[in-house]
């Protein structure tokens, strides 16, 4: 990848909180215009990595280069390029929605003549035009998250960082937030930190799996899925008369079979390709009770990577 195409370059970052090492020599590149998902278990270092990128925290060692600027040398320039939506939508309760957006627009240095049109455009985007004069403390969690999205976009940033944007939201609100992200995809460089694998699978161009402060794997969702399980998982539920040892031996003869597991009368067979499915099924003969093929999910990738 050409270095000009890299928007965020995380270089050997280390960060500890007391005795706890949150990030351990973390390296990661985020390309210009891509939507990168960061997934990982609790305490993997996702939020720390994001806070370091946003110059909220300072690393113990290493550097992050954002659009050519180092977090050590030019944090203010970096901050002005990033729209950050933290995990919890904590906002100034006494502010009215429009005032809140005005306040942040002024802090981001948005030109005065552009502030009002931008506020109206964003309120429209998040469907809150009619709530602009209401105070934040009257909003539900979903509305707070929507106004937080608008706040993060107020200065039309090149980079948007979402930390668990749909956490704790009802399915409809979560879908609307995902919809905002989808609308921004391709236009901005987006980092999406999430616990929801389907969300990452659905939205992200690439996904980085973080565990214990290190990147365990990074790639497109399809690449990651194929890497752990192959292309497809064949599950065959059998009756109790089956000689499982003999069947297993026969199955392993097929060239496409990667791994085989047997539990509770069900065979789970990982296949590299689908060409031999019919022949494998034939091995079971009349002992088949049910048969199913299943694509591996990002969830499988996640569990495989962090175990």
């Amino acid at each position: 990848m050409d270095s000009e195409d890299v928007m965020i370059k995380i270089e050997s970052i280390n960060k500890s909180f007391g005795n706890i090492k949150a990030l351990d020599n973390l390296n990661l590149n985020i390309n210009r215009g891509e939507l990168l998902g960061i997934i990982g278990p609790n305490g993997a270092g996702k939020t720390t990595a994001i806070r370091l990128t946003c110059c909220i925290l300072k690393p113990d060692s290493g550097d992050i280069i954002v659009d050519g600027s180092s977090i050590h040398d030019d944090p203010i320039t970096i901050k002005s390029k990033i729209g950050y939506l933290p995990e919890e939508p904590n906002l100034y309760e006494r502010f009215k929605a429009r005032d809140l957006l005005r306040y942040f627009a002024e802090l981001y240095g948005v030109p005065k003549d552009k502030i009002e049109p931008r506020i109206e455009g964003l309120l429209d985007l998040v469907g809150m035009t009619d709530r602009g004069e209401d105070r934040i403390n009257t909003f539900s969690k979903g509305l707070r998250q929507r106004i937080s999205v608008a706040r993060a976009l107020i200065h039309d940033p090149d980079i948007i960082i979402f930390d668990e944007p749909t956490m704790g939201l009802d399915p409809a609100t979560a879908a609307s937030i995902r919809n905002f992200i989808r609308q921004l995809k391709g236009k901005k460089t987006i980092v999406l930190c999430t616990h929801y694998m389907e969300e990452a699978d659905l939205l992200c161009d690439r996904v980085a799996i973080l565990n214990k402060g290190k990147v365990r794997d990074v790639g497109t969702p399809d690449y990651l899925k194929s890497k752990i399980h192959g292309d497809v998982i064949l599950t065959v539920k059998t009756d109790s008369l089956l000689d499982q040892a003999s069947i297993k031996e026969q199955i392993m003869q097929f060239e496409s079979v990667g791994a085989t597991k047997f539990a509770d009368g069900t065979f789970s067979i990982s296949l590299n390709h689908r060409n031999e499915i019919k022949s494998i099924v034939d091995v079971f003969g009349s002992h088949i009770v049910a048969i199913n093929t299943q694509e591996p999910t990002l969830n499988d990738v996640f569990i495989h990577s962090v175990k």
Binding site: C55, I76, I82, N90, L91, R94, L107, Y108
Partner: protein, 395 residues
């Protein structure tokens, strides 16, 4: 200059806040109450009667006195016993028996003439033994007799001494007495400085509130430095305080307080607010929550108040140069119309400058530290250790 944006919005929110308006009005009411108390106190202390520190016994006991010369009744202490001059012996005896008076003092003949001719004066005290106040009357009658005896013997000694050249001594004073100065000047200067200590909660709310509400994270993510955040917030509080001080100055002037150089007084009080807000910002930057900040602030303000007031008292009693280190001393001298030499000003301004620089540097440094803002927060002893080993300066 993005700190002005923070100042503007902080000020706007403070002035729009109902809580703030309530505090503001409450403080003004307290000030008015203090002015009333202060005024009546000073009026009393300046009156001829003065203020009795001990409770008055006036009217506690009454005594009928039959004294032809009027000498005895003149020496009876009116604070203790009300004297009722009578001429009829039997009536007073009856009055005592009926409880209409506590006792009756009878002086035979003309006491004044008797004393001058060296005769013994016979006095009779008649009391009702059942009356618990009888001892007051007997004691007072006894004391009066002793006092008269002492003053006459002293008079005889003086007249017998031919070399006695005792001058006719009169006393004249200039200025106010020390207690009156302390009450009038110190109380007024305290009233003027009071707003500085009443608005600590605003800066606490402004900085600790960001931590408690967890809004600090988005604020720190803004393209604005930590120093601009602290300065922006502090300036908003300083402006709020200056508004309050202006109103207080106006109220005090309206109520007839003599404040010379009001503009210079205002400027000095405003300047004093800067280091006080700085120290408050240090407490706020370190505190995790309002409770901690409240405790820290109480301790810090105790030291600040002591530092402000003690030099004022020192200055009143000794006119010491070093006492000018406290801005309260300068303000007191300013509103009293005293001449203040340049070194006195420089001492005070220099101290304000140093404390301001150190406190804001500390507050900004603490606010910018990850461990203090996001945890795990180091203890105070650890920070002191870091300061001693100069590690704090490198972080």
């Amino acid at each position: 200059m993005k700190f002005t944006t923070i100042t503007k919005w902080e000020l706007k929110n403070t002035l729009k806040s109902r809580k703030f308006m309530m505090i503001f009005v409450l403080q003004l009411s307290v000030l008015l109450l203090m002015i009333i108390v202060f005024n009546s106190f000073v009026t009393n202390i300046e009156s001829d009667k003065g203020i009795a520190i001990t409770p008055s016994l006036n009217g506690f006991a009454t005594m009928d006195v039959q004294d032809q010369s009027g000498l005895i009744s003149k020496y009876v202490n009116p604070e203790i016993i009300s004297v009722n001059n009578v001429t009829t012996y039997n009536t007073s005896i009856l009055r005592t028996e009926n409880g209409l008076t506590t006792g009756f003092l009878y002086v035979q003949g003309n006491a004044d003439t008797q004393i001058k001719t060296g005769e013994t004066v016979n006095m009779l005290v008649y009391v009702d033994a059942a009356d618990p106040k009888m001892s007051v009357v007997t004691n007072e009658a006894n004391n009066t007799a002793k006092t008269i005896a002492q003053s006459y013997s002293s008079s005889l000694t003086t007249s017998a001494n031919t070399q006695n050249l005792t001058a006719n001594f009169t006393q004249e004073t200039t200025g106010e007495s020390l207690p009156l100065q302390i009450i009038k000047k110190v109380m007024l200067v305290i009233l003027l400085f009071l707003p500085l200590l009443l608005f600590g909660n605003i800066i606490i709310d402004s900085i600790v509130g960001e931590k408690e509400r967890k809004t600090g994270e988005i604020l720190v993510a803004m393209p604005i430095s930590h120093s601009q955040i602290i300065i922006g917030k502090s300036l908003a509080v300083a402006l709020t305080i200056s508004l309050q001080v202006l109103i207080w100055l106006g109220v005090l002037l309206i109520f007839g307080f003599s404040i010379l150089n009001p503009l210079a007084v205002f400027v000095f009080i405003f300047l004093t607010s800067i280091p006080i807000i700085g120290i408050t910002a240090v407490v706020a930057a370190y505190s995790k929550n309002y409770k901690e900040a409240g405790i820290g602030l109480s301790l810090a303000y105790l030291v600040i108040v002591g530092f402000l007031i003690i030099p004022v008292l020192v200055y009143i009693s000794r006119k010491s140069f070093i006492a000018n280190i406290s801005p309260m001393t300068i303000v007191m001298r300013l509103f009293s119309g005293q001449f203040i030499a340049i070194p006195d000003y420089l001492l005070c301004l220099g101290f304000i400058l140093i404390v301001s620089l150190v406190s804001y540097w500390f507050a900004i440094k603490m606010f910018a530290r990850d461990d203090i803002t996001f945890g795990p927060r180091p203890g105070i002893l650890r920070i002191l250790f870091e300061l001693l080993t100069l590690k704090f300066f490198r972080k």
